[in-house]
């Protein structure tokens, strides 16, 4: 991040690419859940408990997974319990990979969101804090008071190995790489 232009070139955006290697389900564990908003916390715990100790305690893994599942339950499946959320996942000490699929219509406003995020980051890098007021949160007609699209901003930061939708945009694959311990010698 030597200067602002390189910073901009590092902007993460949501991509659509069904053929991304992140959608490769080989060797992944699998669980499916009804779209019950009350149980999101529980479903998240079920998934996270297979992660090794070193990655689940020291970071936001659980919170991030919970946000993605929340999106699928709420925006994808409209909290209809008969609709299922399917999750494929795999963890080890250096990575977390997750594919979350819902039965909804797909993330229609993906391009709008990317555009919004691009502008927001541009304003941030210019340190234009007045302009930023208009870009605090992303809202659509379906948004309720609890939505700010902010979870997605954080998700893009967190899932540093990519955050990719399938063509139908009802499944998202993501990868987090964990830095290997920095203090060890040799």
């Amino acid at each position: 991040m030597a200067n602002d232009t390189t910073y901009l070139s590092e902007i993460h955006e949501i991509r659509v690419d069904e053929n991304s290697p992140l959608f490769d389900k080989t060797g992944l564990l699998y669980k499916e859940f009804p779209s019950d908003y009350r149980q999101i916390r529980y479903f998240t715990l079920l998934i996270v408990q297979s992660a090794p100790l070193e990655i689940k305690e020291i970071n936001l893994l659980e919170q991030q997974i919970s946000e993605v599942i929340k999106n699928a339950v709420k925006h994808g499946n409209q909290c209809k319990p008969e609709k299922k959320v399917r999750v494929w996942y795999s963890f080890d000490s250096s990575h977390a990979q997750l594919i979350v699929q819902d039965e909804g219509e797909g993330f229609k406003d993906l391009e709008k969101w990317n555009e919004f995020n691009r502008k927001r980051l541009e304003i941030l890098s210019k340190q234009d804090y007045e302009g930023l007021a208009d870009y605090v949160s992303f809202r659509t007609q379906k948004s309720d008071d609890n939505d700010g699209g902010n979870a997605l901003f954080a998700a893009l930061e967190y899932w540093n190995g990519g955050f990719v939708y399938n063509n139908k945009r009802n499944a998202v694959a993501m990868l987090k790489k964990f830095p290997q311990k920095k203090h060890a010698i040799g």
């Binding site: 991040m1 060797g27 992944l28 669980k31 529980y42 297979s50 100790l53 060890a184 010698i185």
Partner: protein, 647 residues
């Protein structure tokens, strides 16, 4: 060459001179590897020149050769003694030109004779003049630090020797045997002296290197002692960095020091330690009052993006920075003239582990009359290197401690789990039971129990607690306690689940969810009640049809909603029917090909072993599952409870 001229050569002064020159040359050649200033080749050239001169002279007694070559010999001396003193150079070059011109003129005259025989002894006056010039230049410039070089050490002797030789040539002429046998070899003595001086210098350098390393080792010892005692005390990163910072500032004679660490997540470097007085080398914000304590507080918490400013640059590139005089360097901001605002000398070095930069250390001095020197800079780099090792091992230790804490908590949870799961399941005349539970490292979520509530009624529970470490284990203990308390009731089994749920939900501020499947069986009649809290379906093998049915009830896990009303199902088991309760870890067990064991794998084992007792069926399931997964690490506990009506 004839035999007689060879004999003549041997009898001449030539071999002795050659020997003298060769000894000096071999000394220089020996020291050449340690020649840091690149001068030795000059001495070696002079020696080689004289060697050639004497050899030529021994073979061809040319008239005038001695004088011409001696003038050139003195030119070497002029250059060697005057070149190191910058101010002497404007005399040196004209002198060299004059000498060369004189030598050429003399040689030309000897060859062609156009001037009618220039008197040799007059021309030879140039030699003592040169020697005086050398002496004068060296005398005038002797304070210029030449003492650490060969010319500075030997000039009085060399000048005197060369002057004496020149004078004797003028007085006696080259024809004199005194010159031939004594004076010429003596004129070489200055080169031998130079060689000895070189040896002496080399010795001194060695000694000062030893002194330097002794000093470095002392400094290192002090830094390591400081960081070491930090570990004995508070045991915090701040303490450790403070000791390291203090030791480095002391060992470099600095007025103040700071240590920054890289924050990986935000690409920032953050000031973590501040000792002594360290005025800011960066521009202060306009709004900050120029008060000593405000400025110090500002510095103590300052942070930069990687690559930003002089600190950010060190942390990004890993380059050392040495600025003895900050007034001459635009990278250092001058904030004012007050003592707490002004620095005079600045150094910074990265803290590196392998090729990874974990931070940086910087020290400053304030007194412009006493700036940092190269030796201080070397010391800083050395201490930064070794200090980092301490910091790094400390971090590794903290990490290990944290991890061992987590592992300890996981071990405690596993102990609790082990202690509350039944070691042995009871058997009844009409109903056989079998069970196993295999824990996965760091999970400890599976729970099963068999509770006999009446002589002919047994309640089997299989559950899975979602959560972490000890808190999950505590939930398991609570669930078990409630179950043991309430299963002995006349109410139906769904009510038991309702009570468990009410007992757990919203009571304590922990992650606490659990799935539970409950089967209450009449051991005589085979009447069975089933209730479920979001647990895996139960498999029922019917002996009469040979088919496996699944028994399931959609519901919420324990811990989600306090008001949940659980449902129940009733069925009757015929003799030989088998019920299998299990957890996620069984059906989701994965083999090397990424295939799950599934309900199918489970059903097949039951069908195949329909004739065996419940206990043996459980053992068969365990064996089959182990064969299926092979060496693949399992992510979840695996638990099975088997009930079988006697045939």
């Amino acid at each position: 060459m004839t035999v007689s001229s060879f004999t003549l050569m041997l009898e001449s002064a030539w071999p002795a001179r050659l020997l003298g020159l060769a000894i000096a040359a071999s000394l220089f050649a020996y020291l050449r590897r340690k020649d840091t200033e690149g001068q030795f080749s000059l001495y070696l050239s002079a020696l080689a020149f004289l060697l050639v001169r004497d050899t030529v002279r021994a073979l061809l007694p040319l008239g005038g050769l001695m004088l011409v070559s001696d003038i050139l010999h003195y030119c070497f001396a002029l250059f060697i003694f005057m070149y190191p003193y910058k101010a002497s150079r404007f005399v040196l070059f004209p002198a060299l030109i004059l000498n060369l011109a004189l030598a050429s003129l003399f040689a030309a005259d000897r060859a062609l004779g156009f001037l009618g025989s220039l008197p040799e002894r007059v021309v030879a006056l140039a030699l003592p003049v040169n020697a005086v010039l050398i002496g004068l230049a060296a005398f005038l410039r002797r304070k210029e630090g030449g003492g650490r070089q060969i010319p500075g050490m030997i000039w009085p002797y060399a000048a005197a020797l060369l002057a004496a030789y020149g004078a004797s040539v003028v007085v006696l002429g080259y024809a004199s045997p005194v010159i031939e046998r004594l004076a010429v070899p003596l004129s070489y003595a200055w080169l031998v002296m130079a060689a000895l001086a070189a040896l002496e210098l080399h010795d001194r350098q060695l000694l000062s290197a030893v002194a330097y390393y002794e000093g470095s080792i002392d400094s290192l010892y002090n830094v390591l002692l400081g960081t070491g005692s930090a570990l004995k005390g508070e045991f915090t990163t701040e303490e450790l960095l403070k000791s390291m910072n203090e030791a480095i500032a002391a060992e470099t004679g600095a007025d103040g020091g700071v240590i920054f660490l890289v924050d990986e997540f935000d690409d920032l470097i953050v000031c973590k330690s501040y000792v002594g007085s360290y005025p800011p080398p960066v521009t202060l914000p306009e709004s900050l009052p120029r008060k000593q304590n405000r400025v110090e507080t500002y510095m103590k918490h300052i942070q930069f993006r990687l690559g930003e400013g002089i600190f950010g640059d060190v942390a990004k590139t890993g380059r050392n920075v040495f600025i003895p005089d900050v007034a001459k360097d635009p990278r250092i901001a001058i904030n004012g003239e007050e003592d707490f605002l002004r620095i005079s000398s600045f150094m910074a070095a990265p803290l590196m582990v392998g090729d990874k930069i974990i931070g940086l250390v910087s020290v400053i001095r304030k007194d412009p009359a006493n700036p940092f020197e190269e030796a201080d800079f070397d010391r800083l780099k050395l201490l930064a290197n070794f200090g980092t090792l301490s910091v790094s091992s400390f971090f590794s230790y903290l990490e290990a401690r944290e991890r061992s804490g987590l592992e300890q908590s996981a071990d405690i949870a596993a102990d609790i789990q082990r202690s509350i799961i039944p070691k042995k399941v009871p058997q009844f005349p009409g109903l056989g039971l079998g069970a196993f539970s295999l824990p996965a490292r760091g999970v400890s979520g599976d729970y099963f129990d068999v509770i006999q509530t009446r002589p002919d009624r047994v309640v089997c529970i299989v559950g899975d607690v979602a959560g972490k470490g000890v808190s999950a284990a505590l939930i398991m203990v609570m669930i078990r306690a409630i179950l043991h308390l309430v299963t002995n009731t006349n109410k139906d089994i769904a009510t038991v689940l309702n009570w468990v749920n009410k007992g757990i939900t919203g009571k304590i501020d922990l992650d606490h969810y659990a799935t539970l499947a409950v089967i209450a069986a009449d051991t005589r009649t085979g009447e069975v009640e089933y209730a479920n809290a979001a647990h895996q379906p139960v498999l029922v093998f019917r002996r009469s049809t040979g088919a496996v049915e699944t028994l399931d009830l959609k519901s919420l896990p324990i811990g989600v909603e306090r008001a949940t009303e659980y449902g129940r199902k009733a069925l009757r088991l015929a003799p030989g029917d088998v019920v299998v309760m299990y957890t996620d870890g069984i059906v989701e067990a994965m083999n090397e090909q990424g295939k799950q064991y599934g309900r199918k794998g489970l059903s097949q084992v039951v069908e195949k072993n329909r004739d065996l007792a419940a206990k043996e069926i459980a053992a068969k399931i365990k064996g089959d599952l182990a064969a299926f997964v092979g060496s693949v690490r399992q992510h979840d506990d695996q638990t099975v409870v088997v009930l079988k009506m006697s045939q």
